[in-house]
Amino acid sequence: MMNYPQVLFKNRKPDRIATLEEYRQSGGYEGLGDALSKASHKDVQQVLLDAVLLGRGGAAFPAGRKLMTVADDAPHPRYIVCNADEMEPGTFKDRVLIHADPHMLIEGMIIAGYGAQAEKGIIFIRPEYESAARILEREIKIAKEAGYLGKNILGNGYSLDIVVHRSAGRYICGEVTAQLNALMGKRANPQQPPPYPTEKGLWERPTVLQNVETLACMPHILRNGPEWFKNLALTETGAGTKIFCASGKINSPGCYELPMGIRLSEIIEVHAGGMVEGSEYKACLPGGASTRFLPREFYDIEMDFDTLRNVGHRLGTGAIMVFDQKTCLVAATLNLVEFFARESCGWCTPCREGLPYIRDLLRRLEEGEGEEEYIPMLQQMSKHLWSSYCAFAPGAVSPVESLITYFEDEVREHISQKKCPFK
């Protein structure tokens, strides 16, 4: 097996978190020290941009660019928010990361906070991750005692405090503007920009929101430079490593830190232990429930944001859910749409009304009551969902659209046989 460099998981242990001391011994907080003493916040933004650090929460927005959108004369206090809400089905990398090396996230937040000149940091975390929330609270306190948080960090004049904010659990809270509403004690409906959160976010103040994994990359970029980060990837277009969460019909489900641009086939066969006995690869969702089914013809694809985008797909969160030839993809898609229909916040009409409509059509198909006309109906309604308020609905129909693109024959078998051919 190829041993690839472990950056985010270098201190990962089977049974406990890395302590502050262990993190420091591995170079932790060096990047922060250098940044605060030698670099301006503009330099930090530029380094992150040059490193081509793209958001790991699914949207792949350049992290440096996001920091740059905070205007020089924007008011204070400013906020840096860490999105640890991780509710995309199939995704559990943030949980594993926090349980492996919490100070990496804390240092990343301080760096991003410095880049935005933010005074207040908030970690927004889902209730299922209560143990991670407790770890973070404890380690934040330890970091503060060590001089990494609070007033005048490391004697360089910059100040930041971080608090942990517990959510009570809803998928939509992972959406940026919904999360800000949730933080402000409002119902977590998304808001359509402008104004963008980096202009007017929490309490009308500039707010930068980043995913756990994105923030965890920052200390390493600051310490080793953008070229080093880019060279971690196997492809020209990729940069850095990626934590892939593999699950489904494979022998070793889990989180694997691998170079960006690694081939899907290698992830499955070499790192995730191969397909379970008797199972053959049929398709996967490459980056959570909001991405498109990736059929057999893409089995060797290089997993980075650009390569997938060029073939009409998305890397999303890098949560690879593997389906085998014995799994009915109509039933799987029905399950995914059930999830989205239940989790829709209900604010805008296409999402609130469209998803139950799609669910109903898929349910009838799965139960052998489908008609030929359902296929164009599914396509048409999926198209309507693209005109919804936020990215939730376009994500929700990604499995539906790709089901028809790649597995129309399987859908038609449900109609012609008047039953699910897998039952």
Partner: protein, 167 residues
Amino acid sequence: MKCNVDLTYAMIPKELKELLARQIAGIEHPRELVVDVMFAVQDHYGYLSDEAVEEVAELLDMSPLEVEQLATFYTFIYREPVGKYVIHVCDSVICWMEGHESLLDHLSGKLGINLGETTSDGMFSLLPVCCIGYCDRAPAILINKKVYGPLTIEKLNDILERLRAEA
């Protein structure tokens, strides 16, 4: 920030109410605490009763309707009484593929309740939940927010028996 909460008519224990009032008074934007306060009051009552909604609203200077809007929105806030153990069964795609349905059928049969119901002895409530982020341990469930998985029928039986014995 000044706190004008009247502590004399508190339904919840005075100490808890004072503690919450202090926390609220200590931060710039009290509404940021609404989920924490709902959790704290829910822990006391066992669920978020009508009274509790009003208490939370009063503490945070919100209207009961504003709190209700949140209470009914979130998965882990209960507006009806629940059992001592709340079992959340993950029904998202990986757990579904790994046998969620047979697990749920078994639970349902063994406890004699459907999803959304509580056993008559007040021990167990059964609720569905979206992907809990333990796809590497599918099929997985939460019991009082603690994760169990990967589960088999046998393991599930053992867990239920242990919980019954401990109660």
